[in-house]
Amino acid sequence: MRRNDENIIKQLQELRRIEPDIGYVRDSRRLVLASRNAPLSRQGIFAGITQSLNFAFETALVAALFLVVILGGVFGLSKSFFLPALQGIDEKALVTEADAINYDIHLKLDEIAYFGNHKTSTERVVALDARRIESGREGLPLTETLTDQEIDKLLNRVINGY
């Protein structure tokens, strides 16, 4: 019995000298060291990718909306810049020309009317006044026509007024 105990003790003492296999030690060390720089777990990688994509998508969406708003506004405001040169319907030139021609024709028509059907100066003065009142342009000077009317009025005044 005593002998058995001694054997057991001896075996246990031998067990103290047990060492891991060199290959196992090397592999285990490698695994431990590598685990520090190891990539995220598979689930972590997918989450990262999704997160990045979401951010990129959101940024792109905001940028696209921003562009639509800006370009839309610019296009709306400056549509005419994209049109070819329009000489005929150019508003400024057309309105200036129309105003000038209408004003000038109006003066010429007054001139024609003054010398029109009335042969004497008195008739002409009365007719021109009537025409101006009728057309609502009493206050407007009629340049040359007015000069003729003034001459006729002055002559009538010298003859009848003093």
Binding site: E97, I101, P141, L146, D148
Partner: protein, 257 residues
């Protein structure tokens, strides 16, 4: 055409002048009508010397204005250039010599006025001037105005035709780009074209009468007269510009501008 451009430029200058007139600043040729208003009461209360002085003043003013008016007509005629020995040139020279005669008449009347010492004499001179105006000057000036206006009408017609072809080009260009449909504007473009054709016929008719007529023919007015033809032609051109402005608005609306 150059003359019309000058006219367009002149209108730009005329606007401030009009403003000046309305504000009471008197330019060289135009005269404010208020200056002629003298009531019977005021003139009755004047002493005989004052009446004479006022009458002389008025007659002098009338003669000065007449001389300025003649000069102004001369300038308008001088702006017209015609080929040598043409009928137009002949009529222009005839008109210029008539204007010279009017200048002589008014100049002589001014000299006579200085010698007048009584109101009766001044009144008689004024009657002579009025008689001359009614029988010689006015028919002559009427003829000159008609002559000048028929060529003005030709110029303004050219400008309106140019504008119509430019507008038609624009409409065709925009139709090609697919931004408007030419057919939607065709009606107004055709209306403008018809009015301009009518205006040209009237102007041509007036010009023919003026160039072919002798002074005796002009006294016996034909119907429609050259004056009526010019008047109608110019009114047509005015209507055409109203159509042009409507077209401008319609095209802008179609483009969403």
């Amino acid at each position: 055409m150059n003359r019309l451009k000058k006219v367009i430029f002149a209108v730009g200058i005329a606007a401030p002048l009009m403003g000046a007139l309305l504000l009471g600043i008197e330019p060289v040729l135009a005269v404010g009508p208020s200056s002629t208003i003298v009531s019977a009461e005021t003139s009755a209360s004047l002493a005989p010397e004052e009446k004479l002085s006022k009458a002389k003043e008025d007659l002098t003013k009338a003669l000065d204005l007449s001389l300025k008016k003649v000069d102004s007509l001369r300038s308008r005629l001088d702006e017209l250039n015609f080929p040598e020995l043409s009928r137009e040139e002949e009529l222009k020279n005839e008109a210029l010599s008539n204007l010279d005669a009017y200048t002589d008449y008014y100049g002589k009347a001014k000299e006579d006025l200085e010698k007048k010492n009584s109101l009766e004499e001044v009144k008689n001179l004024a009657k002579d001037v009025k008689e001359h105006r009614d029988t010689i000057y006015t028919p002559g000036v009427e003829e000159i105005v008609r002559f000048v206006l028929v060529f003005y009408n030709e110029d303004v017609l050219g400008t309106a035709n140019d504008r119509l072809s430019k507008i038609e080009t624009d409409v065709k260009k925009l139709d090609k780009l697919g931004v408007i449909k030419e057919a939607n504007f065709r009606g107004k473009l055709d209306d403008a074209d018809k009015l301009l054709q009518k205006a040209a016929t009237l102007q041509g008719g007036a010009k023919e009468i003026i160039l072919s007529a002798t002074s005796t023919d002009l006294m016996k007015e034909r119907k429609p007269s050259a004056k009526e033809m010019i008047e109608n032609s110019l009114n047509n051109i005015k209507s055409v510009y109203t159509i042009f402005l409507e077209l401008n608005q319609a095209v802008k609306k179609a483009l969403g501008l």
